[in-house]
């Protein structure tokens, strides 16, 4: 699991952590059953307060993204295709919202903006 946290950003560190793990799970880079580093290991790696990491893990457990195994290790939970598709959609919407605002300011229609996005997504595919 590769995580990068900007500790001096105004975005709460726990939220950066939650977002990145969610993204990696939704995108399939973290698979069901994959083990998540312990609070201690991640704290040492990122120089991040362990309380912050516990908070992020607890939130992801509540959401059903992670689950705690009897042996106390935390793993990615298996989820249905529908939830995962919904999660991916929600993530994309969040990421696109600021761009929608830029498009409006530039006077670019939804259709034009959509076309640009389609082109960029397909370009990357190739």
């Amino acid at each position: 699991m590769l995580i990068a946290i900007d500790l001096h950003s105004g975005v709460p560190a726990y939220r950066q952590l939650v977002d990145q793990i969610r993204l990696q799970v939704a995108g399939g880079r973290l698979r069901p059953g994959d083990e998540i580093p312990s609070t201690r290991a991640l704290s040492a790696e990122l120089g991040l307060n362990p309380m912050t990491i516990s908070r992020a893990y607890a939130l992801l457990e509540d959401e059903g993204v992670l689950e705690r195994r009897p042996g106390l290790s935390l793993v990615v939970r298996a989820r249905s295709g529908a939830t995962s598709a919904a999660a991916r959609g929600a993530q994309l919407t969040r990421a696109l919202r600021p761009l929608a605002s830029v498009a409006r300011q530039l006077g670019i229609s939804g259709e034009q903006a959509g076309e640009t996005l389609r082109r960029l997504v397909d370009e990357d595919e190739r």
């Binding site: 105004g10 120089g47 307060n49 600021p98 409006r104 300011q105």
Partner: protein
């Protein structure tokens, strides 16, 4: 959260005409790393001294480990490690002799940790304590405070004196202590950038009054700067709303607001005023003047 470590209620401290602390009520649980922030002379050091019983309240109460601080005994004091801004040592002793002398008072003194810390902080154990620079004297105080595995560590402006490389390893060390010893650490500082990565809780004092007492991430969740851009018509002269804390009109089409608001507030705000809102998060440096200011209004 775990055990309640420090608790003050209505804590007020007067020095003659001067009120150093005014009606401060906080409850700190551990393990945790608490950033005690405030401008110069805002009462940070006075609060730390009350926690360990070096000063007693004029009014109100202070309890540490559940014991009123005027009755803290050896059992509780041995669980507290204090690093003052200007530590006092026996000047003619070497660093090693000074530490050996102190270790006699503490049954939990850890010699392995002592040599580890001397190394980490780049201290020469042979130098005479009296001849040390202020920064190095503070490092000796850090070693002395941490070798006894305290449950509560009070650090008064420790990072300002440390050079950048030592400062980094020192802050990482605090993260280890929280996990290894389940310690609760209170670290006072006005160098906000340094402690931002390490602390999870903020206590902010302003002229002796409590201006904030909350999880750092909660503060970052609540406060933000909104850059408001008109869509069709010009912006109103001012924006009302319980969540608008500051308001700067840049021009008729653009304004800058500091808000304490939720995502739902922003969506409603965009609709009502027909504007686009860019949310710029605030880091600790950006939050600090707002915390101090919002108390005044």
């Amino acid at each position: 959260m775990g055990e309640l470590i420090v608790e003050t209620s209505g804590l007020t401290k007067e020095f003659g005409e001067v009120t150093a602390l005014r009606d401060v009520s906080i409850a700190l649980s551990g393990p945790s790393i608490i950033g005690l922030i405030g401008r110069n002379a805002s009462g940070k050091t006075t609060l730390l001294r009350h926690i360990v019983g070096l000063q007693l309240p004029t009014r109100g109460q202070a309890r540490t480990f559940g014991v009123p601080t005027r009755r803290l005994g050896h059992e509780q004091l041995a669980r507290i490690g204090v690093v003052p801004q200007l530590p006092n040592f026996i000047g003619w002793m070497s660093v090693r002799e000074q530490l050996r002398y102190l270790s006699a008072f503490y049954p939990r003194w850890d010699l392995d940790r002592q040599s580890f810390l001397l190394d980490l902080l780049d201290l020469d154990a042979r130098s005479e304590v009296g001849g040390l620079s202020a920064g190095n004297a503070q490092k000796v105080a850090i070693v002395a405070a941490l070798c006894r595995h305290p449950d509560l560590i009070l650090l008064d402006e420790p990072v300002s004196m440390l050079d950048p490389i030592v400062r980094d390893s020192f802050l990482k060390l605090l993260l280890d202590l929280v996990q290894e010893d389940n310690a609760t650490i209170v670290i006072s500082s006005h160098v906000l950038h340094d402690i931002e990565s390490t602390v999870d809780w903020i206590v902010c004092l302003d002229a002796g009054t409590l201006a904030a007492n909350a999880a750092l991430d909660d503060l970052k969740d609540q406060y933000a700067e909104w850059r408001v851009l008109a869509r069709s018509r010009d912006l109103p002269a001012r924006f009302e709303g319980p969540f608008v804390l500051r308001h700067t009109v840049v021009n008729p089409r653009a304004a800058r607001l500091i808000v304490r608001a939720a995502e739902a507030d922003r969506l409603a705000f965009q609709q009502t005023h027909d504007v686009d809102v860019e949310v710029a998060p605030l880091n600790l440096q950006g939050l600090f003047p707002i915390l101090v200011d919002s108390r005044r209004h």
